[in-house]
Symmetry: C2
Subunit: 261 residues, 2 copies
């Protein structure tokens, strides 16, 4: 019998009800992904939006219409059962946070798996770079910027960024390291001057938790996977499923396999 990939083992535990919590730290080295499920009537515009905005919306896989499977990310993978918590949205309103979406699945749904910063954070940690929000045990601070995404069909809105404070030498190394990972947001979009991208106060993030930027550190900003969720919330599609924040889709892809170099 083949050795079961670490990601497949996590998904099997979730399907069996043996793993109910957030997925940070599960199956280390495996790519975790953001999940967006939309009716096929919106799927093409959403994919065009992602294609035009690859930094916030790096597409790892797209399902066949009606299919809950993403075989490139895991042979057995079923997006209806393999996440430990979902969010179900109707006309832009959050209506449920179930642990299984088989009962609301439809034949016209298309699933998108989008890259997540967990992958590049692992690469930064392996370089010995301190990530303040992890040290603090908090969520990374995220901000809506004045940088507009490229619109596609009804999808439009501002770029959302995550911020990690770093000493300059670590910031330079982090730019090099994350440049190798375009499939999971890639290089930073900004460094050092938050007011130039419409961020008035670093202490008041729009999502996540504030962290201290100390003397001798620069704030470094990466495009963030919350961008598509914020954009979808404004479009208010009649139906949509996403992962619940922190409860990601764990795949069989390896973070190292996403690296260009």
């Amino acid at each position: 019998m083949d050795r079961e990939p670490a990601g497949a083992r996590v998904r099997r535990r979730i399907r069996a009800g043996d793993l109910a919590g957030p997925t940070a730290g599960e199956a280390p080295g495996s790519v975790q992904a953001n999940l967006v499920v939309l009716p096929s009537a919106l799927a093409h515009d959403f994919l065009r939006f992602a294609q035009a905005n690859p930094r916030p919306c790096p597409v790892l896989a797209v399902s066949e219409p009606g299919s809950p499977r993403l075989p490139r990310l895991g042979e057995d993978l079923d997006v209806r059962t393999d996440l430990s918590r979902y969010r179900v949205w109707r006309h832009g309103e959050l209506v449920d946070e179930p642990t299984d979406v088989r009962d609301v699945w439809r034949d016209d749904l298309v699933a998108f798996a989008l890259g997540c910063s967990f992958s590049f954070e692992q690469a930064l940690i392996e370089e010995g770079i301190e990530l303040r929000h992890l040290t603090c045990g908090s969520n990374v601070p995220m901000y809506r910027t004045s940088i507009p995404c490229v619109p596609a069909g009804p999808f439009r809105g501002p770029l959302v960024v995550s911020m990690r404070p770093l000493p300059p030498a670590d910031a330079i190394r982090a730019i090099q390291v994350t440049s190798r990972f375009p499939a999971v947001h890639g290089a930073p979009v900004h460094i050092g001057l938050p007011e130039r991208i419409g961020i008035a106060d670093l202490a008041r993030p729009d999502y996540g938790d504030a962290v201290a930027v100390r003397d001798g550190e620069l704030p470094v900003f990466w495009a963030c996977g919350v961008t598509p969720q914020a954009v979808i919330a404004e479009v208010r599609p009649e139906f949509c499923i996403t992962h619940a924040p922190g409860y990601m889709l764990v795949t069989d892809l390896r973070n190292a396999a996403l690296s260009l170099g």
Copy 2:
């Protein structure tokens, strides 16, 4: 007859006395190099110093003792005649600025060609990045830092850096681009907080000319080829030849060939 490389053509013009000025802009795309010539008694320590400090001292080629030839950089190349202006130093004092050093050449001399920022500046310009000192027609501003080089034998001293002001998005792109060129100083060593590396006043460079850092720009600092010259000036070797600033060794190497990617 083979087509003559652009670098060889420049060297031939210099040897013939037809090109007497600085070499910026000559043989575009060809690697230009810093020249350091030292007695063989010091050559090993200097090479160890360069090996331990590859950012400021990227070695492109080293001659056989007593030989003025660097065949890796040009088949016909002769470092005694192929630069348009030299500096001759005795015990740390500048004693002459000749256009030919055949009459002071010695059997124990070793020539070092070190990478120069002209190569990565070309790559930045091709990305559409404005380099302020070029816009201003001035020399790049350079600063002695509080960062010590790794010593080797008598060679020791502070890292000297060059500074280019850039908007944050250009700074990120410049870090990516110059990371591909480790043979010509590579990625920046610092960004954004000059006081953290011992630079009190950007308006007062130690070498070169000051340039404005405008609102919305960050100062970005690269290790600089002036470092070995500053270090040699402190060691005061009994004899030394260098290029005169701006009068570089033009080689047959192509800038593009130095790129990692």
